[in-house]
Symmetry: C2
Subunit: 923 residues, 2 copies
């Protein structure tokens, strides 16, 4: 007991080291806000003094039936006395009252807990003292009525049902009574009347009068903060965000300062560097004679920080405040080694710092900050800047997604801001796109063929592999259904093409060739602008610009040369190089064509992790050969059709091997159900029948035979090759023959094909097809008298495969986790249909994130871990990778590193993202 | 080394205990066949002597690069000498040769290993001795040419490529040359010529002459048997059937006996009891002057065993043989305590027993045998029979599926045998059905409404919940697609209705109202007969009879009273009672209506494990209310529609609670995607729009909005209630109000509702809906002032739910494993689409069984085990059950017992099956 009584629960801060008991290392017990306030106070920055009740006190309170630990009340009262002494004011003093704010603050930023209470300490008596001291009667009554409102709502609301709306009702009434248009039109007298009304409202709900004892006010507020820690909202937030191990929330009691005491007072927010462009110039906004909330409320327009020294009234005060603020901001940035976002108030000429924290920024700004903090050189001007971090530490400050923002064409931000979006939907493919509406993939292809400069936006309910030609032809894709990993989204991201999905408010009438949104109708040929980074869709044209990184990789020689000097390219290069120094895992790309493979290699891919061979079947005339295969009535006819496809596939593989010379290339055998190669509309079926010289009924009957209730769970993947082994034979031949051919080129290419059997759920499937692959490969090699070092492995994308990975690894030489399908089956979510309930799930916090975007480490991840562990139990050197969309998601990449995968594979445009994420998982 | 040399690898048997070294307890090292031969020899039965090379020798050979263990060759030669001495003949003796057969035989019956070689020991010289001894020149050359064929194909084939076809080619040539229609038309001289041809064929492929050294013949044969143990086919068979722990195969070398040496010789097969009806009378067939294969080959028609004493030629010999055979059969049955299936040969008046094994039988016969062996009373005649087993042991001899055969109407077997089936497909629903073809569920309903006596077979591509009315109206269902767990199959089995699925050869033209099979056309109104136990479909009408068990349960009083005296009912009762004594797990039923629940209880169900509430929505006018719900534009409209549904659901629940008074009733909240409640054809949509007085476009647009690419993975299950919590509210109200209502009945019913949230994949889903359920339930109970003991739990049917079961069990009070969906997602197989590849998978042994029929214990079972274990780690008293189709599959039930589930739940008609299986898992 004795030791408990001595335990320190309350920590003072303010006016230098002498008075301050914590610092930023006390985050766990003072919370983020409390620790930062202490840190600033230690650094002699002008922080209004106060004290923090620790998270340990909250933990005791939570686990002891809402009782304070012994001694806490005394400790609070002692610190309050110290504060009163330091400030020369007393809480509730009728002559010169101390006012304080009360705020919650855990070690991790956590919405869902108690809001702030300001102006605590005002009572019917002390308000008079406040007025006397400030000489501002209106401010006095305004502060008081705000305090009653906040205290009633925030502190007493959870138990009494009292809400802000109850007070708002009175405010509206009094404004009507006096014909006041705005709150600010109310006079001191009218506000005083309002205070009386507020007290009545309070009493009617709380069944007690508004407390006139400031200690009671403070004590109730602290308890309310503690209670809010275990509120349903906060508890749920912690479960969803997997926040555990925290003791509770701290409570910060801070001396109030006032920016609304006249023309020598003001308040504002500032950033030490530009959070949008990343430029190393301070930015910010402020308002004279205002309180904090007024800056954000938008009733008055704030001024830019740079105007402060030019204020006409009290110029000397503002010049001094501006200088002081700039000095402090530089100090903070050096101190925290990161650009800061600060709140400040000037009370009658005295500058006070209310908060500092690491600043938010765009991806571009994040990269620029990292590079400039590490190199100490301004990327644009070449001027010297303070060197704040090592490259390794700078790398930690950015994310994979930051670098992605360097890669895509973007809208001119100013131009975009001028236009109101038509709708907002899922940002499924990055960048910006502007084009004329087209409703049909074929039309898009035809239009671009006729006029290659034509800029189109393909607008469809959803897309299928049949549409890829038109999707490629279009600048951007907009669909009304489907989620972040629908066909449209995956294909678009693979190409780095702008795509917005799941725009449910679109009513598409393909027959009429028009689309309506909220009654507004857009026809074929009308212009749309898509922001794939935000999901905003605009009517009309917004100007775009292309990324220097992409221009450097893909552009013509002159363009590339120029782009390579552009600061954006140089920053990209810098951080990518840092990443490659640290990462322990390979990064490969998913690429289906030689062109994709070249792009991927330019972005740093170390091999191909997934080549989806079916995409090769849609190009040019090949579709007719695969259709012949599908219509064939005998194995002989099927083989004849495949014979025609063979040289095309072989040529593609030669191109892939050349592009990836010396690096592994994983080729997945045919995966989608066969009906994806057949047309579904009667008109297209007629065209097909005519083109192939077959009976329309044959086409129709085959389409109907191949129809499946759930194609995702149907006749696809290795199941196709088990029914039609000749498919597997043809594809293996194409791969091995291509490897032989490139080995004989003048400039010899050593291919490293990894032949991947998809959708394996049982070892028997793999055994059967591995035998077919090896037999075919050996026949080719024997005939050619050559050797090719090829591997045979499998996708792990069926839960059962992960569960029986030990057995499967006896045959498989490598595993590639297909986490798209694995997520579909582990959750039972169809990627194409998740759009119908995902919004509800995210809104109601059933899911914190779309599991197709970021790997579900708890469930799906458990299967991945199991697959790796079991697989390596029977084959210790089993090569494991991931080739789902998750391979490009930073959090997922970190999981892959932790799980011991050998590589991640993602779309070419996400290779830079994955490189960064892989490095960050290690450093 | 010394001890190894002494190890016994070869075991002699024949002519009593004196000469016999093994018995049936040596199964592991002598194999099943060898051990049984030794057992018979020990019992002084006339077994042609021989010896068995042990499985241990095979194991050594397999693991030592195909080398015999030291001493094996000598041991074989020693036993051969002993055999020669005992038989007074020598292998290869030109004067009087001993001939032997060589057969493989592991401890577990295992196809895929080496076939039999007969007549070993014949050479160019010894064939003369054989002819001299038997006086039958033709037999000599015929045996010799058969031996060359078998030896060439079976022993030398695997290494040389020589096959039976190579010999067959010569046989055809010589038959053509001499104008012989049948093999038997060839003379001794011609057969001798054929032997020469065969030897040439042999030499050309094997590159060596046919061996004339009988020891070489024997040695090569033994090695070939050993090699066959590791053949691809055999190894695969063992993997698929999970046979491990075996040492290898034994090799049986048996003295040949000949049933083809004249009218005093013959051969046959016999059963100690009737394997079809189960009657305790011996049955069998034989042929005079014939070899074993002739009986099964079907070239000559065998005679019934009872005719044997009436043979005219050599009557005394046959009277004696018949007596002796009957005596031996009785002895064998008593010895093995089970009806036997024997092979015998009479060689020149001497009876030899070549094999005995437990007889195969139908389910009916199996049950009858068990009951009669345990009670010692003939169930039909009341006569005394030998009491062979205790009830417990008798129970072990039957399977759950056996008892199922007692429950369904069946064809008169004799009548069925007269008709050739049209086609054979998947036997998806049991029993027999006869009716007129109808192509449309609505037509079926209308026809039966007009004439309740109308007997119909519903023929469709597949069925959907919309079709249930018509399915109920029809006597049987025949579909061209879908597997054993397609909608049609599951619904039909639930009702105990005959159903055949996946009849791919049916070409249905619904518009023309006709179906063709192999070009034969059947129109609406034509008769079909379906055997749901075999999958046979017949044109025309085959007479059926109904099951006395069902009549006893469900029939009208008089009929039931009569049925309860029927032997089939009495047998059912007997074995069910046995089972209930032993089983440790509860058996519940899946039932969706009060009527189903009553049936289930009559069959012994101890509660309802799954009530699929959606089935209630299709009855009568309710479909219009749920459609109103779906078309509604606001929550208010939706609630209005639900308000109409509420009383219907409540009434159903009252019925269920009454039928299951005192037993738990698990009610699953709405599960299927909403589009299942809307019509898909335009014509039906027009009807719907008119009936509901809404715009056709509204109906169409809602159908199109609800369309999903993969409905199985779409907006269904708990996802519906998260979007529309009012659904969950209505269903909960109906359940709790029903429980209140039945508690107030004069004859009070204590309901035990278990409210089950389907398709949960994350704890957050369950938390959200559990809160809605509890809030609603408490509101109802408070209003009524009553208490109801209800539970809230979840289906575990999504792999992720099993993986995170520890978390989910914090909220769930019970788990019900929905192994249908769990299998779909664990394998990635759609039940509705598996028909397109399952046949290939079964044929190629990728799967040994449809995983929807019998639970995949390796993969899906792993998730079930994990779910139970993890769930009970956070809630030790978690009640766990299974409610998929597997709940009625005997093997799966055993798995459930092993895994520690509290109950299994299956369709009412499978409850008796599950009771038996549950008992067998324990005994």
């Amino acid at each position: 007991m004795a030791s408990k009584e001595k335990k320190q629960y309350v920590y003072f801060y303010g006016f230098g080291k002498e008075h301050t008991e914590g610092d930023s290392s006390y985050r766990a017990i003072l919370g983020g806000k409390g620790a930062n306030l202490a840190e600033m106070a230690n650094a002699d920055l002008p922080v209004p003094p106060g004290f923090t009740v620790s998270t340990e006190a909250c933990a005791y309170y939570s686990s002891h039936n809402s009782q304070y630990p012994t001694g806490l009340e005394k400790q609070i009262k002692d610190k309050l006395k110290k504060l009163e002494k330091l400030m020369g004011k007393k809480l509730g003093d009728p002559a010169d009252p101390l006012l304080v704010s009360v705020r919650s603050g855990a070690a991790v930023s956590m919405p869902g807990m108690m809001d702030t209470v300001l102006n605590l300490g005002l009572t019917d008596k002390s308000v008079q003292g406040f007025i006397k001291q400030t000489g501002n009667e209106r401010a006095g009554w305004d502060c008081y009525r705000r305090f009653i409102d906040m205290f009633g709502d925030v502190v007493m609301g959870p138990t009494s049902g009292l809400t802000h709306e109850d007070f708002e009702h009175e405010l509206v009434a009094i404004k009507n009574k006096y014909g006041a248009a705005e709150d600010t039109d109310l006079t001191a007298e009218q506000l005083k009347e309002l205070v009386d009304k507020y007290k009545l409202v309070y009493k009617s709900k709380v069944k007690k009068a508004f407390p006139q004892d400031p200690w009671e006010q403070l004590n109730l507020s602290i308890q309310a903060v503690f209670n809010s820690w275990n509120s349903e909202r906060a508890a749920k937030y912690r479960i969803i965000n997997k926040i555990d191990g925290l003791l509770g929330t701290a409570v910060n009691i801070c001396t109030m300062v006032f920016g609304n005491l006249g023309e020598d007072s003001g308040t504002g927010v500032a950033f030490t560097r530009d959070g949008a462009s990343g430029k190393a110039v301070a930015m910010g906004e402020y308002l004279i004679n205002a309180q904090g909330e007024d800056v954000v409320a938008g009733i008055r327009t704030p001024k830019n920080l740079e105007e402060m020294p030019s204020e006409e009234v009290n110029n000397a005060i503002w010049v001094k405040a501006s200088k002081e603020l700039n000095r402090i901001m530089k100090k903070l940035e050096r101190h925290y080694k990161y650009p800061q976002d600060v709140e400040f108030t000037v009370q009658q000429g005295q500058l006070w710092m209310l908060q500092t924290r690491n600043a938010k920024r765009t991806g571009l700004a994040g990269i620029r900050w990292a590079v400039e903090m590490a190199t100490g050189v301004d990327v644009e001007t070449g001027e010297k800047l303070p060197k704040l971090l090592t490259a390794k530490k700078a790398l930690k400050t950015i994310t994979g997604s930051d670098i992605e923002q360097l890669l895509f064409p973007i809208f001119d931000a100013d131009e975009e801001a001028k236009v109101e979006p038509l709708l907002n939907a899922l940002p499924a493919g990055p960048g910006a796109a502007v084009g004329k509406i087209v409703f049909n993939a074929k039309d898009a292809e035809a239009l671009v063929e006729a006029n290659p400069a034509d800029e189109l936006i393909l607008v469809r309910q959803d897309t299928s592999p049949e549409d890829v030609g038109g999707m490629w032809a279009a600048k951007g894709i907009l669909t009304s259904t489907g989620g972040m990993t629908s066909h449209a989204a995956v294909v678009a991201r693979g190409w780095g093409k702008c795509c917005i999905c799941g725009a449910g408010s679109l009513k598409i009438d393909e027959a009429k060739k028009e689309v309506s949104v909220d009654g507004k109708v857009y026809k074929e040929g009308d212009w749309l602008s898509l922001n794939g980074s935000t999901g905003n869709v605009y009517a009309g044209q917004i100007p775009t610009m292309s990324s220097p990184v992409v221009a450097a990789m893909n552009g013509k020689a002159a363009e590339a040369k120029k782009a390579k000097k552009h600061p954006i390219y140089l920053m990209y290069k810098e951080v990518s190089d840092w990443a490659d120094q640290y990462r322990s895992i390979n990064v490969r790309a998913n690429a289906d064509s030689p062109k994709d493979a070249e792009t991927a290699r330019a972005f740093g891919a170390e091999g191909i992790g997934l080549c989806r061979t079916e995409h090769m079947f849609f190009e040019g005339d090949r579709i007719w050969d695969i259709r012949s295969f599908i219509l064939a009535q005998s194995e002989k006819e099927r083989e004849a059709a495949l014979k025609k496809l063979l040289p095309h596939q072989r040529k593609d593989f030669e191109g892939l091997f050349k592009a990836m010379a010396g690096l592994p290339v994983t080729v997945r055998l045919l995966d989608p159900p066969l009906h994806e190669f057949l047309p579904h509309s009667e008109a297209d079926q007629v065209v097909m029948a005519e083109h192939m010289g077959v009976d329309l009924e044959l086409v129709k009957s085959r389409v109907s035979e191949l129809h499946e209730a759930n194609p995702m769970l149907g006749h696809r993947g290795c199941r196709l090759s088990i029914t039609y082994p000749e498919l597997c034979v043809m594809q293996t031949r194409a791969i091995i023959e291509a490897a032989c051919n490139v080995a004989k080129l003048k400039k010899q290419v050593i291919a490293e094909p990894e032949i991947m059997i998809p959708l394996v759920g049982t070892r028997a499937e793999l055994d059967l097809l591995e035998a077919v692959v090896r037999k075919t490969a050996e026949e080719v090699l024997e005939k050619r008298g050559m050797k090719v070092d090829y591997k045979v492995g499998t996708m792990i994308e069926i839960p059962r495969a992960a569960l029986t990975a030990d057995d499967i690894a006896e045959t498989a030489e490598f595993f590639s986790f297909g986490t798209n399908d694995l997520t579909q089956m582990t959750y039972g979510y169809s990627r194409d249909d998740i759009g119908s309930f995902l919004p509800d799930y995210l809104e109601q916090k059933v899911l914190s994130v779309d599991p197709f975007q970021s790997l579900d480490q708890t469930g799906v991840g458990q299967l991945v871990e199991m697959g790796v562990k079991k697989g390596r139990s029977t084959r210790p050197d089993l090569k494991c990778g991931i080739c789902g969309e998750h391979g490009g998601d930073p959090e997922s990449v970190k999981f892959c590193v932790k799980t011991g995968l050998n590589y991640v594979s993602c779309s070419p445009y996400r290779v830079p993202v994955a490189r960064i994420a892989a490095a960050q998982a290690v450093i």
